[in-house]
Symmetry: C2
DNA sequence: TAGATTGTTAATCGATTAACAATC
DNA sequence: TAGATTGTTAATCGATTAACAATC
């Protein structure tokens, strides 16, 4: 194995591998070759082997990969099972949709608290999670900490909150706002820009 | 200009250019050089010029680009202003969040109808949009058509619906389910895989 | 053993960056 | 005119694909 720095292209494929292996595992498939996986994922077998070789040797010559074993290994690489703790900021429509529908646990996260500014929401419970006052954010984080913050607030509030989160030591921001966040140092930002995504689709269908 | 086929890497940057130019335009900035834009976007000036040159010559030597003009040109490339029509399938939490919060119009789309299977929802109106019975999907599409379908249904229903949409001539599927869709031919699919995104973030914060 | 399939090295392909003549 | 900045060509860098020895 190589263990130089792994390119983001590779990293962004890991969740797809993980998802496919989960499905295979659930379907009871015990082993799979890079060739078979390649066919079902629309990626070359060569690339799959190359990608995996960044992290170790998970296969067996003449056999392929043990599905459950490979799933677990990739899960470990992605950090599933580290007991990551998430908080959510902005319990509006989108925030609530994520709280009620998104399976944080399947990604190895537990959603521990939500924050909002609306007095009508503060003190209530949504999807089994307490809604706290954003004013208490630093107090909460000092006491409990959090690995990731889900940012589903209105755009204008995003940048300031992101900075507060980074300041308080939150490791990553999952950004659903349409803002480009500028956060210092070690805090990671992962953007889910709906508009960018829809505009890409718009381009794709506008060819004819 | 070149006009060979444009790589997806370039296309995925276009919405970001568009977004930045919107902001500049709203801030009243009249002109900008590739160098200045590069600094504010964290992309090299060379890449910006290279990207734009795929579509035409929008700048002026010694001057740079007219912000509003470039914004409009990129908007045109992306298909904003074509009056694209969208329908939404699955008016659950996430679907409703998109209907009520997402500015389809800012991407040049109008949301024309929603579909669900829940009798309690069918016939009601959400965010000014009628909710129809999914059973009427084909009838509706035959009568009105649609350019894009927003797919916010539960995973198990996704694949079959995607096929029905493609069959009925819908040009693109904006896929929010955690399923990998297999649709025939000319219908485009743009995925918004929340889990993949969160797992990528999980990887990023799991290094230490 | 023979066939299958890995991990890795080498070859190819594509995307990003640098350089610069053209020109506003 | 002199300075700035484009569009494009060439150089570099990185990522994907192909090939193959190792070996289950």
């Amino acid at each position: 194995m190589k263990r130089e720095k792994v390119s983001t292209a590779v990293i962004r494929r890991l969740p797809r591998y993980y998802r496919n292996l989960e499905e295979l595992s659930q379907a009871g498939t015990v082993r799979i070759s890079s060739k078979a996986l390649s066919a079902s994922m629309g990626i070359t077998a060569s690339q799959i082997r190359q990608d995996l070789s960044c992290f170790g040797e998970f296969g067996l010559q003449g056999y392929g990969y043990n599905v459950e074993n490979l799933r677990r290994e990739i899960g470990e690489i992605l950090g599933v099972g580290r007991g990551h703790r998430a908080i959510l900021l902005g319990a509006g429509n989108l925030g609530r949709a994520l709280m009620e529908n998104f399976r944080f646990d399947r990604c190895g996260f537990s959603l521990e608290a939500a924050f909002d500014t609306d007095p009508a929401l503060i003190g209530t419970e949504l999807a089994g999670v307490q809604v706290l006052d954003v004013a208490e954010l630093e107090t909460y984080l000092a006491a409990h900490g959090a690995d990731v913050a889900v940012l589903t607030v209105p755009g204008p509030a995003a940048q300031a909150l992101a900075r507060r989160l980074a300041q308080a030591g939150v490791g990553g921001v999952w950004n659903f706002t349409n803002m480009e966040l500028d956060v210092p140092g070690p805090t990671a930002v992962e953007n889910v820009h709906f508009a960018d995504s829809l505009l890409t689709l718009s381009y794709m269908i506008s060819k004819g």
